[in-house]
């Protein structure tokens, strides 16, 4: 019983900052502290007229969309290879691909920055951010897709090939529909991670900042903080929707693959 109370208190601790977001987003005062002064939707309407913000959001959406597709494609390759084939150095190779999960993000950021700027002498752009985001999102995609590929019977694809399908069409007609929920779930998670990622984006962003980099700039100006709260409220709402869809699809994918659900994303 006391454990239950502790677990609930822990959830309160986890949600404390998020609960404050909408409170201050609708608060009619420029200082983010208590007591509250009144209700307003002023900050949300200001979001609509801030041009620089729109550019940053567009950038971030572009980066997140491409990251989602690329990391999921790489995730499919790795999860499929991991589940169906044995090859030399399997553990080492998959370990290297999963490494960004535990690597400090600043290491990923500075090493790519050095390569791009010092060695290749290229400029920074959205594509440098995408390159890094795909790197850190792929392990998450693999973790999700592993669940979908794990119990897939390789003999089903073989049967399709025996019946005259090519290797590709056997994959497309047999395996792909079975793992589809996992694929969409992986894309949504990668999208969410990329949209929210700051540490790497700050180093690798070009002339057009991503949304978190833009928010970082706003945090220095006390006057713009209520707008940040309004933006944050929208973002939290959006991520909760995306994550809920991802979770539902992940469970459906597990059920299709015939795996018993063992819990979360990781």
């Amino acid at each position: 019983m006391s454990l239950r109370i502790y677990a609930i208190a822990y959830l309160v601790f986890l949600y404390a900052p998020i609960v404050l977001l909408p409170i201050f987003a609708f608060n009619d005062g420029t200082i983010i502290s208590f007591p509250l002064s009144g209700f307003t939707t002023e900050w949300f309407s200001q979001l609509w007229v801030t041009k620089a913000l729109h550019n940053a959001v567009q950038n971030s959406l572009f980066i997140a969309a491409i990251t989602a597709v690329m990391s999921t494609v790489l995730g499919i390759c790795a999860a499929r290879a991991g589940a169906m084939y044995n090859f030399p150095l399997k553990r080492g190779i998959l370990g290297l691909v999963m490494l960004p999960l535990v690597l400090p993000e600043i290491i990923v950021a500075v090493s790519l920055l050095v390569v791009v700027v010092q060695f290749l002498d290229l400029g920074l752009s959205n594509w440098t951010v995408i390159a890094a985001h795909v790197l850190i999102c792929t392990p998450f995609s693999i973790a999700i897709l592993n669940g979908a590929f794990q119990n897939l019977d390789p003999s089903m694809e073989e049967a399709a090939m025996d019946l005259g399908e090519s290797r590709w069409s056997a994959f497309r007609l047999v395996t792909l529909p079975l793992v589809m929920p996992g694929i969409i779930s992986s894309m949504l998670i990668a999208f969410t991670i990329s949209l929210d990622e700051f540490i790497i984006a700050f180093f690798l962003t070009g002339a057009n900042p991503t949304m978190p980099v833009y928010i970082w700039g706003l945090l220095r100006f006390p006057g713009s903080l209520p707008i940040v709260m309004a933006l944050g409220t929208l973002l939290v709402g959006l991520s909760i929707i995306l994550l809920t869809i991802a979770e539902i699809l992940r469970r459906r994918g597990m059920a299709r693959a015939g795996v018993k659900d063992k819990g979360g994303f990781l």
Partner: protein, 275 residues
């Protein structure tokens, strides 16, 4: 089949990591980079006390955050694994992971609002009559950095422990109690050793990435709470001394890896000592 992700990881992880190691042996020469091999950056890191102090503080913060996070997380993982009915487990895990995915920057900033001089904690405690003066030891110092990071990395600690606890054969616990162990000693002699792989994973997955976070110390740490990652960031983006920043990043990485390996080694010895 594995070659595309492998190729990507080699191109964008292995090559850049090698490049930054090479780069750390070069020096910044005003506007351009001098490519003669030299140990000057490393020599500067060893001789200037500021770097050593930052490194020590960073390792202390990462270590404390890891202890706090894992100790706080274990009972939650235990509760979800042992006391929540099977069909509700996914829901609990989902609830635990949601805050982790949402707007990291704003979440860190909001801790400032919670812990600040006129923040939620202080106004709450004053209104309840528990304190007269706002508490000042919880903002713009290391404590604030530790609280915020412990919050940010919570799910990273809960999930691996939960997975390890789920794998424990429940009949072992019954057997232990049938053989006369109390509930407490069953926990320490059966449950805890069997959950060790998850605990080790949780420690590593919290300890290693926290060293690379510069957002939390920047926003929460004040003047005395800056960490090594802030220094790396400054060397790269403000002071225009990228080779020194690269060397600092490598030194930080080596320290973290050394501590992690030591931890894994000690843990193996502990487990072997028991069996």
């Amino acid at each position: 089949m594995v070659s595309p992700p492998l190729g990507y990881a080699l191109m964008l992880l292995a090559v850049p990591l090698s490049a930054i190691i090479l780069f750390s042996f070069w020096t910044q020469n005003f506007m351009d980079v001098d490519t003669t091999f030299t140990l000057n950056n490393y020599r500067e890191i060893i001789t200037e006390p500021i770097y050593f102090a930052l490194l020590k503080r960073s390792l202390f913060v990462s270590g404390t955050v890891t202890c706090v996070t894992v100790l706080l997380a274990f009972p939650v993982a235990y509760f979800v694994s042992f006391h929540v009915p099977a069909h509700r487990k996914s829901l609990w895990l989902f609830l635990i992971t949601i805050p982790f995915w949402t707007s990291y920057l704003i979440r860190v900033f909001l801790w400032k609002v919670i812990l600040g001089y006129n923040g939620v904690v202080n106004t709450g405690l004053i209104n309840l009559g528990i304190i007269d003066e706002p508490l000042t030891f919880i903002l713009y110092n290391i404590n604030a950095v530790i609280i915020t990071l412990a919050h940010a990395f919570a799910p990273f600690a809960i999930l691996p422990i939960f997975v390890a606890l789920e794998k424990i054969d429940r009949s072992l616990l019954e057997a232990s109690q049938d053989l006369g162990e109390s509930k407490v000693s069953t926990f320490f002699r059966v449950t805890l050793p069997l959950s060790m792989p998850g605990l080790v994973a949780a420690v590593l997955i919290v300890f290693i990435p926290t060293i690379g976070d510069y957002v939390t110390p920047e926003l929460m740490g004040g003047a005395g709470g800056k960490l090594i990652a802030n220094m790396i960031q400054t060397q790269f983006l403000a002071l225009n001394n990228a080779p020194l920043g690269a060397a600092l990043a490598i030194v930080a990485m080596i320290c973290v890896t050394a501590v992690s390996l030591l931890f894994v080694f000690l843990n193996r010895r502990y487990l072997r000592g028991r069996s």
